[in-house]
Symmetry: C2
Subunit: 345 residues, 2 copies
């Protein structure tokens, strides 16, 4: 079955190149912004016409709002994301705004396409959760559209940031485990998909904080990281890798609850009692972590407040705010039954 010929999407960058102007200039024309000369306007409009650029954004500027907020999520399985979305929905309730969601898929390329799909659907604002695309891409989007980025720690003059203080959160977990008497504490992290933005990515910050706190306690030699992914499958693989070490760790800090759930399966398959033989902690304090049969120690970063704040910031930008805002949550530890002192040896 044919699904139609491939037609590459014409982007704002193509229009800029064709018109011999900056993407910012194109964006200004599209937004009918102040300070664009008539000549510039004509040049950009001619390029739009010649390339067949879908004039959605232009149409939007002419017609007014579409009352749509676009949300980019990395994927749909992480139960922390619905917490964020519920906060966003709560903030938007009573307004005319609708939310449309796209998932980023396996790599930055797929994520770029997903972002294109949102921009082409003429959203009035965009919330990007833990995006992996290049920083230039985030700023390109923010240039034409009110944008909030949730997760990464970069500062930008073009978009707002909502983030968790991941350094505080990771430190809480590692200190909690050390306080219980653990020394062989291992970590399950996420593979770096965006090398140039590594320092700003929450999973990198959690992993580096783990290393720092271990060193501060003289546990340099006990540092053990399995770098997989914040998914059930990643947690399963990570735990299996860590349990293969000798001596094996007495505690595992998974960078996300979802990965901790996968680790739980690996621990069970290995016949290891939690927390009797191995303690386990996660991050995100998802609802499932509180399930009595799981009872996972975790870090609460209040996804509801993050989602509400993201919604509020987007509405403010849509109403005209252009200054850039950064909102940081200080997380808290939620100790549960999955962590306890290490077994006596």
């Amino acid at each position: 079955m044919s699904t139609g010929g491939r037609r590459r999407r014409v982007t704002i960058a193509d229009v800029a190149r064709h018109a011999g102007v900056s993407t910012t200039a194109v964006s200004k024309v599209l937004r009918n912004a102040y300070g664009v000369s008539a000549a510039m306007r004509e040049r950009v409009k001619a390029a739009i016409e010649e390339l067949g650029y879908r004039p959605h954004a232009a149409a939007r500027a002419m017609r007014g709002r579409t009352y749509t907020i676009g949300v980019l999520l990395p994927e749909l399985r992480n139960p922390f994301f619905p917490d964020i979305l519920d906060g966003l929905y709560a903030q938007l309730s009573g307004t005319d705004y609708q939310v449309i969601i796209v998932t980023g898929g396996p790599d930055a390329k797929a994520e770029n396409r997903a972002i294109d799909a949102l921009v082409d659907r003429q959203v009035d604002g965009i919330l990007m959760v833990a995006p992996r695309v290049a920083r230039a891409r985030l700023e390109e989007v923010a240039c034409g559209l009110p944008t909030v980025v949730l997760g990464p720690h970069e500062k930008s003059a073009l978009y707002d940031a909502v983030l968790d203080d991941d350094e505080v959160g990771a430190e809480l977990v590692v200190r909690h485990l050390i306080g219980l008497g653990h020394r062989r504490i291992a970590h399950i992290g996420q593979r770096e998909g965006t090398p140039r933005r590594a320092a700003a990515m929450l999973h990198t910050i959690r992993a580096r904080t783990y290393e720092r706190v271990m060193r501060e306690h003289g546990l340099d030699d006990e540092i053990a990281i399995a770098t997989t992914s914040y998914s059930e499958e990643g947690g399963y693989r990570g735990a299996r890798e860590l349990l293969g070490r000798s001596p094996r760790p007495t505690a595992i800090f998974a960078g996300a609850d979802l990965a901790a759930f996968g680790a739980l399966t690996a621990l069970h398959e290995a016949g290891l009692a939690v927390p009797g033989e191995v303690s386990l902690a996660g991050y995100d304090n998802t609802r499932l972590a509180a399930l009595s049969t799981i009872s996972l120690t975790s870090v609460d970063q209040d996804g509801d407040v993050m989602g509400r704040t993201a919604g509020r910031l987007l509405l403010e930008r849509i109403e005209g705010r252009t200054s850039s805002v950064r909102f940081s949550i200080t997380p808290t530890l939620v100790p549960r039954r999955s962590t306890a002192p290490p077994p006596q040896t």
Copy 2:
């Protein structure tokens, strides 16, 4: 902070009313379909202009495809939905199609708005998962847009249906529990939100099948249903209600895994061992059901195949198929440790 004045969306029904024609006629004009008179076309176009109906669909027909599939999900917390979406993504991979998702929210009114948002975003096809809106609305959408409905059992000449044989699935669970020796088997169901479509809704079918199988085994007097919702919170409330009965049930069949997770919390709070004192079964065979600490007996309806099939059917319709297709999955029982014979009394 103001979020702009309320502007009700002009719908296809408004255009039809204004032009004094049927919505089907409007849809035909928008699709440039065969068999529309020039006079009809003029009338509809004038109504579109006068009402300021956003001419997205019309623009689509003129410009060609947007390569976007819209998906309506009831909400984002049910871990069965990502199974469906993964199947859909797999089917669309290698094509230019992007998926955008909206959630239906708390009631049919919110769901209608969410569907509007997809239609306005000029999707090429739409997948509605367990929609609660009126049947007429489903057909109105299907009239203008390739449509697949996943979940409900209605037949339609206008859209394709992908469904699970919920009667088989529910019967498997109840027979399994009876086979283990249970008599006091209770059910957690979902409140009926669409009375006129009740017979076609999967939650109604699961509940009625439970009643039928109980009666067929002479267990009429043991029938006990808590009607809440297919959510963790609904499962929690449902289980509490059922455990308040005297004598209490020895087994609970929750209509969805997500509700079973909530029931698990209620059982733990009540100090009841699973399966020692109460057996518990769910439906959907979500990945979390397989988690070793949960190990929930469930029904597998293969969300991946459902999602793939929905994608294939949408692409076929986009390519021109107009005949209506119905695809039914026969589910299987996945017995795990959460179900066992009742305690000896």
